[in-house]
């Protein structure tokens, strides 16, 4: 991906945010007017442990360029243990994606509390930049047949 196109490239980014911490953190980022790119679209889930790997792969299949999952900090889960399971699941899934040659920077997990508006906005800014540098997601697109 040539550098000059990063400007015009508007990536599709799906952010799964848990209801109790990260979604509230996003709300606080909003009310604090802490900007982050419009490319990020948030889907609310009750807990990071609700995020099924199938959702992530589905997003890529449908053309997403990056997927980020945000949850409560380990130890602070509203459901006490949900994010611990999410952490293991995502660790393994991300490792697998990298193993089959998907850029590992297309996925990220970040723990953002309800108070961390700055962290939320900074995370989204840096993630969008990261995806812009990677460019369009071609490896997970329609590539069944060998070129």
């Amino acid at each position: 991906m040539p550098m000059n196109s990063t400007e015009s490239f508007a990536p599709k980014i799906v952010a799964f945010c848990c209801n109790w911490c990260s979604y509230a953190g996003a709300d606080l980022a909003g009310s604090s007017r802490l900007a982050y790119p419009a490319d990020v679209k948030i889907i609310k889930v009750p807990c990071s442990c609700r995020v099924n790997p199938m959702f992530i792969l589905r997003a890529f299949e449908k053309g997403a360029d990056g997927v980020i999952i945000c949850g409560c900090h380990p130890g602070d889960c509203h459901y006490s243990t949900g994010n611990y399971y999410a952490r293991r699941r995502m660790t393994l899934l991300f490792s697998m994606l990298e193993y089959i040659g998907i850029e590992k920077d297309r996925v990220r997990v970040e723990w953002v509390s309800a108070a961390e508006a700055v962290k939320f906005s900074e995370t989204m800014n840096s993630f969008v930049l990261q995806i812009k540098n990677l460019g369009e997601n071609v490896r997970l697109g329609d590539l069944r047949c060998k070129s």
Partner: protein, 320 residues
């Protein structure tokens, strides 16, 4: 083999069990397949040799629905799957009489054929209980010889061990067949660049015809209805559709069996397109061992699966 057959016959005659689950000889002698033997008469077709690679554990689910008890023949590695199924309540222990059968490694017919051997008529020396390490292959073009150990399935080269994890009795001895490191191939792939990895897997997965043989053979893939057949995720799909689905299917399949896969290697053995599917499962096994401590699914019925447990200081996603 005769000893095994006799014992099964005896058990059935003594009414210890009502039927047996074993292998039946196929059309060519190298294509033995899983079979139920409902009466002692049917046992004539019973075989047990190097071509009996099929892991019978999964058939136990069917057997449990039948009346009475079933004798099941399990090679050492098959017992892990059996345990795993027990742990998941898919089968009942009391419905099975387990004969742990000795194993000196199962054979890969494509490896034999890869030696330029064609038109095979008969193969001698595949008996599991003989110590002979020589396969005598009769073909329409003449006779060939090949060392037994050179024709083993990849999975047997990195065998989990000779011990049966669960059994009622053991017949025959097992041999050490380990000649390779289980994770060597995984590590090799991990060393590749991102693009090389992608090319490798794209090439392999592009062969997939979605015949579902891997899913059908896999003892961990025992869902009554696969998510890829149900409308639960809006992911039901016909075979061989477009795009990304094969990748999604295989990644998700590997993810669903992660922490439950015993690395029995059936997926790769049955794949008609020879896709090395075990490379997915084994990657998860390697990661799990490294991150959450050594874990061997099916080595017992108690230990919690790594994906349904956690510790406070687990590794962070993407940071390994």
């Amino acid at each position: 083999m005769q000893e095994l057959k006799n014992r099964i016959k005896q058990l059935m005659e003594e009414n210890v069990a009502q039927r047996a689950l074993g292998w039946k000889k196929g059309e060519f002698g190298y294509d033995a397949q899983a079979a139920f033997f409902e009466s002692t008469d049917e046992l004539d077709d019973f075989v047990y040799n190097g071509f009996c690679g099929a892991n019978l554990s999964k058939y136990m689910i069917e057997a449990c629905k039948k009346e009475g008890r079933t004798i099941i023949c399990l090679k050492p590695c098959d017992t892990y799957s059996f345990n795993q199924l027990l742990k998941e309540h898919r089968i009942q222990r009391e419905k099975a009489y387990i004969i742990g059968v000795g194993c000196k490694g199962t054979l890969d017919i494509s490896k034999i054929k890869a030696n330029g051997i064609e038109g095979i008529v008969d193969i001698e020396g595949a008996d599991m209980f003989s110590s002979e390490n020589l396969l005598k292959i009769k073909t329409v073009y003449g006779d060939h010889e090949l060392a037994y150990s050179d024709a083993l399935l990849e999975r047997c080269n990195c065998c989990k061990g000779k011990e049966h994890m669960i059994f009622d009795e053991i017949i025959g001895e097992s041999a050490d067949t380990v000649s390779a490191d289980r994770f060597e191939q995984i590590e090799k792939i991990e060393q590749l660049t991102s693009i090389e990895k992608f090319e490798f897997f794209r090439n392999e997965l592009s062969k997939c015809i979605r015949c579902n043989a891997c899913r059908n053979a896999c003892p961990a893939c025992n869902c009554r209805k696969c998510v890829f057949d149900s409308d639960k995720f809006d992911s039901a799909q016909k075979a061989n559709s477009d795009s990304f689905e094969e990748k999604m299917f295989h990644i998700i399949r590997a993810f669903h069996v992660a922490g439950r896969c015993t690395d029995c290697g059936e997926c790769s053995r049955v794949c008609p397109q020879n896709i090395p599917l075990h490379l997915f499962n084994r990657k998860f096994i390697k990661d799990i061992n490294m991150l959450y401590g050594d874990f061997s699914a099916g080595s017992n019925c108690e230990e919690n699966c790594p994906l349904t447990s956690y510790s406070f200081d687990d590794a962070e996603p993407g940071k390994i």
